[in-house]
Symmetry: C2
Subunit: 365 residues, 2 copies
């Protein structure tokens, strides 16, 4: 007899990308930033480590909230810091979705939305995207109208495309919350400035952000939500009192106050992204135009899994992803899988190593 909840017993569990702990890998599989965080972040951590680690952190993380609020020209009560953006998503599910509520998300997208729905034991639905990664709003409308929570990663993963603000505003559930997951938001050519929150449907939108990508701090586990204070106040009741630690709060505050450092790394990544996409095309691949720090690509003839394995044999890790039943509602092929390779934009040197290996594999294949 299992003591676990049936929902947990049935759960496969989310499998994160491989994280080899030994060195020597070209790691282009989990969308980490290849550049180090701001030296001011490192100083802030070192100073906090010599401070008062024996006492609890500020439960509301007010120093960080103030810094984030200044960046967005909002009051601090619009900000909720969390132990990584994943914790933001967990808090959202536990705040808004009961057993009989529907959680919806585009498909293919970030598979964790589905796992979190399964853990919570809610109803959940995949909103199939078109082959060009656009929304077919008409077909998905009935599920959108039922949704209590609609998670929309924008830019989307694995595809890296970005949906316009008009699209997002048109899919806010009438009786629910749209979570605009901006994990990759800083890599968009023209990052938005939270205009969504100031729109007519703004009180039903929660924006989530992370320090893992653009701020080079995946190891820190720090993310935050931006939303109307009424939403933030309710979510605060659900979070653990001290969900953010003293070091993380100090580091994140230093990071968000050093926009110049982040933007310089962003510029390098955007330049490398263009080069990576062009090179993929010249090797016969079909990359999706990316607005993120990764590129999703397919090849018309060579097996994607085979390419992944061959790269791994050369100690180059990219992400092979396979999404079963991903053919959109609008097509007749409802059982078709979508698979491909998601390649993180690394340093120029890492991308060169990847491209060199890839051209050998393509030549042999």
């Amino acid at each position: 007899m299992s003591l676990f909840r049936p929902d947990v017993e049935a759960l496969q569990g989310y499998v994160p990308g491989e994280q080899p702990q030994e060195s020597g890998w070209v790691k282009l599989n989990t969308n980490e930033n290849p550049y180090p965080p701001s030296p001011r972040v490192v100083s802030a951590i070192q100073q906090a480590a010599e401070g008062r680690l024996n006492v609890y952190p500020d439960p509301l993380g007010r120093g960080f909230c103030q810094a984030a609020a200044e960046l967005f020209n909002l009051d601090p009560d619009w900000i909720l810091p969390a132990n990584g953006s994943d914790e933001n998503l967990t808090i959202l599910v536990r705040s808004f979705a009961d057993k009989n509520d529907l959680i919806a998300y585009p498909y293919p997208s970030y598979i964790l939305y589905e796992t979190l729905s399964e853990i919570q034991g809610t109803r959940h639905a995949r909103l199939r995207l078109e082959p060009d990664w656009s929304w077919n709003i008409k077909i998905n409308r009935p599920l959108i109208e039922q949704a209590k929570l609609l998670f929309v990663p924008n830019p989307n993963s694995p595809s890296g495309n970005h949906w316009d603000r008009e699209v997002i505003q048109s899919i806010v559930p009438p009786n629910g919350v749209l979570v605009h997951d901006e994990a990759y938001g800083d890599f968009v050519d023209e990052p938005h400035k939270l205009e969504l929150l100031h729109s007519e449907v703004g009180k039903q939108i929660v924006v989530t952000r992370t320090f893992s990508k653009s701020y080079s701090l995946a190891g820190l586990r720090f993310g935050f939500c931006v939303a109307h204070p009424d939403l933030i106040a309710g979510m605060r009741k659900v979070k653990d009192s001290y969900n953010c630690n003293t070091l993380g709060l100090a580091a994140a505050e230093a990071a968000i106050r050093d926009q110049a450092w982040m933007l310089e790394n962003r510029a390098k990544i955007l330049a490398t992204r263009t080069r990576l996409s062009e090179s993929l095309k010249s090797l016969g691949f079909d990359p999706v135009p990316s607005q993120a720090n990764f590129v999703w690509t397919t090849h018309p003839t060579i097996s994607h899994r085979e390419i992944y394995e061959q790269l791994k044999g050369r100690k180059i890790l990219v992400r092979y992803m396979n999404f079963p039943n991903a053919a959109p509602e609008s097509t007749t092929n409802r059982t078709g899988a979508v698979d491909g390779l998601r390649i993180t934009v690394g340093t120029d040197k890492q991308v060169d190593a990847f491209l060199e290996a890839l051209s050998e594999i393509v030549a042999a294949g």
Copy 2:
């Protein structure tokens, strides 16, 4: 119309102890350790800060698990690290307790157990303790037998008393999990060595531990569970993939490997605890003999809230706690409240300042 789950809408929310961010307070209200963490911990953090914060941590925290397993002479798959012991408790509730399941806990004890039950929307029940803080197992048996999760903080808070192993083994729910919350376990005169886990009912017990108290790392947010690998494996599916950050993992590993530092601070706290208890008695108070790093006390005539306020006026913070409906099942006075003061064992200097203020207040009252 509220978009929140009705359970969340109804929630008061857990209110943690006051955390004044400015200096100048004698802070004896949230059971922090007054001594700094091991210098090896500070070094480990500073080294990790200069390392690879741009990449994700090991999702399983294997370095830490290995160190904890060595301390307890177990295999590493008995260990689950978490973002503070509060996250352990959240993971436990989400793993084991469904809407119709019963979560039980002694009362008065750590009020967060009730808050977490309310967030999850489960049934929950208080098991009233006797006036001397002992269990009336006979009267509580029907609820214990129904419980899916039984949280037992041992030593208990706010009382600081410790229940024998025989008592704990006799209250393991026949079809559920007993969580032996050892937040204060290192302060017991004879700390147990996880004998509970090796008992006949060991597969239904989860031990939780924290670095916030004995290891002087409340600011770090780091705790862990120890339990049979079958239980740990299921709980891993529920936790966020990267729930522990790179800095916390490095710090906790260094802390658990420096037992001498922790034990030296523990010895100081135990000596001060004895002195604090004796002084309270000589001022006319009735302190409960403590096995934790705090002392719970009442006074036969002076208002506890009044003492708290007067101390606060002198910038000395202790915890005033009031538990309504705390009179035990075995008494006729079912609506009686229990209130009193919970005083953290600080440094000798802090305790002297507290005792001096207290003797003035008693003399005036």
